[in-house]
Amino acid sequence: MTAASRIMRALLPLALGVAVLLVWEAVVAAYDIPRFVLPAPSAIWQALISDFPSLMASLWTTLRITLLAFVLAVASGVALAVLFSQSRIIEMALYPYAVVLQVTPVVAIAPLIIIWVGFERIDLALLILAWLVAFFPILSNTTLGLRSADHNLIDLFRLHGASNWQILRRLRLPSALPYLLNGMKTAGGLALIGTVVAEYGAGSGTATGLAWRIIEAGNRLQIARMFAALFLLALLGVTIFFALALLEYMVLRHWHESAVAKDI
């Protein structure tokens, strides 16, 4: 890519965004649209500034649960995938249940989990729900990756007397890395969605994350505040995605076809 096209790639969406904001502002002013229907971007900005401390506290609550759920999902997903790769029987027994957990909508399980865990430990309930959503892409991607190790290389390892542990550590895990990193990009977004949906499920003021701010602002017709919380939520999602994409690039840039620079 040339320098000029690189700059265009950054500038074009930015310019479009600014243009949309300007039109939005002008339309709201011109047609005198009420604030509780569609607030102008400037009003949203004001809400963001005036409610900054409470919004940041909520952002932190949501972020904390999202990150924790994500880390737990990666750890447990990889651990279970490794277990599957070592024992076909365990895989056959457990995999269908992992699928059942995945396909059951988190909104439907949320009330049950919240009742079981209890409102006094709502953070734990949110964590479990977000983990449930984020777990599966890690498990399925890593399982696929562990299986995709080169068969000739496995033979070579065996020829030189490698143990199963050596094959796992030196061959299967590195082979699975691109798959795991891809699964992590999906899981990062899903952990956030899981947290937000769980906050909605918990409702009624017990949760204090961004989703609750949105519900609360909606109930009070503070639409500008609602937009501000929504904006932060989107920003959080985008940040998580790009952080994981960067991690993927850093880890794979020397050797994986998906990440190497097409410089020749």
Binding site: D150, N152, L159, H160, G161, A162, R170, L171, H254, W255
Partner: protein, 249 residues
């Protein structure tokens, strides 16, 4: 010459009972360069995997009259680990045998030098050409100092120029190390140039159709490849292969 490996009526059949290979009787003597020459699907790779003990024969047996030798294996593809630099790839057999890191690194560098890859030890496999990757793969097979080197159509995917250069280098390594090599190929010219003994195999099930010991000067060189003598030797191998096909049909 003493027998290093002996195959006694070795057979391998598919799960559906169709016989893919054998029965095969074959003695491999120390210091030989044996080529298994045959069409695709004749089971020559299967025979090689049985010798490497990566496959268990469904009939017959594999015997090591002098005990199991150290075995090196080279695949058709270089099969390098893309995430590891060339030196670490070459070091792999030593790592698996828990050779101390410093010694293993020194041996890996020495092996790379022998195949003409000095200066590339820090490169990732993807930046190397096909021929260079195959050289790295051969270095990896040699680093553990094998007595028996098994090669499964190692140069089939390479261009002719790289292939000729690698053939000559392989002969040099074979002589220097006193290796015993079993080399699977479907190239008449390659087997004529390299081998002290060529076994042609019939199509499925692969059986030995003929045995040829090509007349070869002590030092086979690129010049020899251009002589009428080489052309005649290749012709003999080619005719023998044709007879093997005819026998099967």
């Amino acid at each position: 010459m003493s027998v290093v490996a002996r195959l006694r009526r070795v057979e391998r059949s598919f799960p559906n009972g169709v016989n893919a290979l054998g029965p095969l009787d074959l003695d491999i003597a120390g210091g030989e360069f044996v080529s298994l020459l045959g069409p695709s699907g004749c089971g020559k790779s299967t025979a090689l995997r049985i010798i490497a003990e990566l496959l268990i024969p469904t009939g017959g047996e594999l015997v090591w009259p002098q005990g199991k030798p150290r075995i090196g294996f080279v695949f058709q593809d270089p099969t390098l680990m893309p995430w590891a630099i060339i030196r670490d790839n070459v070091r792999l057999p030593l790592d698996l045998e828990s050779v101390p890191r410093a010694e293993a690194n020194a041996r890996a560098e020495a092996a790379l030098k022998r195949v003409g890859l000095e200066g590339f030890s820090g490169a990732y496999p993807r930046v190397l050409s096909g021929g260079m990757r195959m050289r790295a793969s051969i270095a990896r097979a040699l680093v553990a100092r094998p007595q028996l080197l098994l090669m499964d159509e190692p140069f089939a995917a390479l261009d002719e120029i790289s292939r000729d250069a690698l053939n000559e280098d392989l002969l040099r390594l074979w002589r220097e190390d006193g290796l015993t090599i079993v080399f699977v190929t479907h190239s008449v010219y390659e087997s004529t140039f390299l081998s002290t003994r060529i076994l042609t195999l019939t199509p499925r099930p692969g059986r030995i159709a003929s045995e040829i010991r090509p007349v070869a000067p002590p030092a086979r060189t690129s010049e020899w490849r251009l002589t009428g003598e080489f052309a005649l030797a290749a012709r003999e191998v080619s005719l023998s292969l044709r007879n093997a096909m005819a026998k099967a049909a």
